[in-house]
Symmetry: none
Amino acid sequence: MPRPSRWPEVMAAAAKVFRAKGYHAATLEDVADEVGMLKGSLYNYITSKEELLFAVVRPPAEQLLEQTRALVAAEGTAPGKVVAIARVHAGVLAEHFVYAAVYVHEIAGMGRYPEWAAMDHEYVELVRAVLAAGVAEGSLRDDLDVRTAGHVLIGSLNWLTRWWDPDGPASAEEMADRVSATFLDGSRSRPAR
Amino acid sequence: MPRPSRWPEVMAAAAKVFRAKGYHAATLEDVADEVGMLKGSLYNYITSKEELLFAVVRPPAEQLLEQTRALVAAEGTAPGKVVAIARVHAGVLAEHFVYAAVYVHEIAGMGRYPEWAAMDHEYVELVRAVLAAGVAEGSLRDDLDVRTAGHVLIGSLNWLTRWWDPDGPASAEEMADRVSATFLDGSRSRPAR
Amino acid sequence: MPRPSRWPEVMAAAAKVFRAKGYHAATLEDVADEVGMLKGSLYNYITSKEELLFAVVRPPAEQLLEQTRALVAAEGTAPGKVVAIARVHAGVLAEHFVYAAVYVHEIAGMGRYPEWAAMDHEYVELVRAVLAAGVAEGSLRDDLDVRTAGHVLIGSLNWLTRWWDPDGPASAEEMADRVSATFLDGSRSRPAR
Amino acid sequence: MPRPSRWPEVMAAAAKVFRAKGYHAATLEDVADEVGMLKGSLYNYITSKEELLFAVVRPPAEQLLEQTRALVAAEGTAPGKVVAIARVHAGVLAEHFVYAAVYVHEIAGMGRYPEWAAMDHEYVELVRAVLAAGVAEGSLRDDLDVRTAGHVLIGSLNWLTRWWDPDGPASAEEMADRVSATFLDGSRSRPAR
DNA sequence: AATGAATGAGGCTTCATTCAT
DNA sequence: TATGAATGAAGCCTCATTCAT
């Protein structure tokens, strides 16, 4: 679909409104008001409300997947990749915050939209593959339950959308490092030896 | 409010439907169909759709808060309390799975319903207090960012609603132990010594 | 679909409005106004506007087809059956005038609704079969083009919806007899012999 | 009104679309797509959708009326004129098929557009006048109901738009002759004498 | 407590029409 | 003449809610 010129404004408005009210509670009139046009005019840009949701949610989803694919394929050990995963994840959240928040809220792990299940599943599998490789290579604990651990990592990162302000004092990289450090090394103090 | 006799069925149906479709996308007719009555009849039990949401969401929220309050107040060190927090959290999820999933999806960390902000906030504070005490007492790393760590723990646990099947092979206690173990000790293998 | 009690009123209103304005130009609000309810309330009776069209149009269509089937299957020669066809056709028009007018205007021979094509086609075939039998048995001209003649008869009868007032002086039977007489014997005067 | 250069294309597209979907169901965007321009551009050619309908419908209507007026005014007996009427009618249909189909469907005998009532009425009157003259002169049966017979003839001819393919094997003249033959002499076989 | 039926508000979507370029 | 984009009105449909029975 060729997009008229105010498409970025429409997307930004939609993401903002969807994040603030949730996709279902948000109305296209809310979105149109935010852009400064009438709700009917939105249909120069979209075909349906759901298409707008997908348009909003696609950039972070694709970026996350592409960057994660690349990082997983690269050389390196599991702990390094876990840090990289967290940085990519937090980086995407920061860059597309409201868009990503919509993704996390409406789609991730929810199985509600078949169109997105494959993408969603692939990401989980990529993370899991890293962890499994870490166990195999000995860099991660051999008693690690890889499935659970993957979801713990992803969950911690996705949960950032509920409390982290990417424009606040903590940068995406700092957040990523804190989350991945806790994931890798835990929060318990080590007996000095 | 004295509730007529089919109240538990109504609650269960509402939780099921809210979880499956999300609160906003779910209709009272969906709920009524699930119970086997007409939608108008639901108003013998409720005053509004939102009240039904709150009714669904209250049991897990209250139980989580009460049990966590108790556990925080009890004797013990932070690591032990972290395990206990995870067990309580996973236990509440397991016991009220669909109800809790609705809470997590619609309310936790979302700031959408002022009525629930206080409860939601208190829980976060309780967890944070445990972690802060752990740092103070030396059982947790002194470089731990307590706010982030609290959200990491809570996020990992809440994220269970998106992938864990409480009726599957992994019990609530097992899940809690895996999550808390990762949180406390990390996933990195320790050099054997 | 179980129909609430004012269903006949709804049908009558819909037929009236569809006939007056045409299906597409008619609005459900027109129909609702005619019944004396709000447009949303119509959805206690129907699932969509198109379903209402089909509901309106089904009774005359089915009655016409059933009665015509019976008459075709009965004993008799073609000319007698032509008269009977005309009487059935005009009778159905008279009994369900507005409904039938909607059928004729929106559906007959139009191929717009696949759901109705079979019914529509069967009727044409029944008429044609009578004419073909008439040619075979010698009661109709052997140079008759049966396809054309069938459509001429049906067209003359359907065209009644554009000018005949079934509540006017000419009864359905009279109309049928005039139309079938012209069809059978023509309008030319015969040389007295 | 001076018409820009692609006016014939616009008319043809409109006729095609109006015939396929019906005037109300057709959108100006459908028409514009058919022409290969944007819907807004149509307003270089027209002032309103209804004007487009009238433009489409005028050529066959005027041609039919003019030719029929001429033929009625000419010398001759009623039977000959009936044949001529049918030939003119079928000829106009063939020449402007989709345009004429739109006329028949949207306007003929429908009384929906006051602008067209006079034209429509005049045609009916012309046909009726021929039949009445035939009765008076003795060439048509003296028991003929002229009003009904006129509508039968016109209806049979208009109904051609629902089933006849003017590009098929039967020419307009053949169709006209079959229809008028049936109208004049009927379909019943005459006892050989 | 439940039903059947209605209300009324509001949401999504369509579309004829306008207008600056 | 055509485009791109917008307007504004209206239409279909949904749904929380009410109410008489």
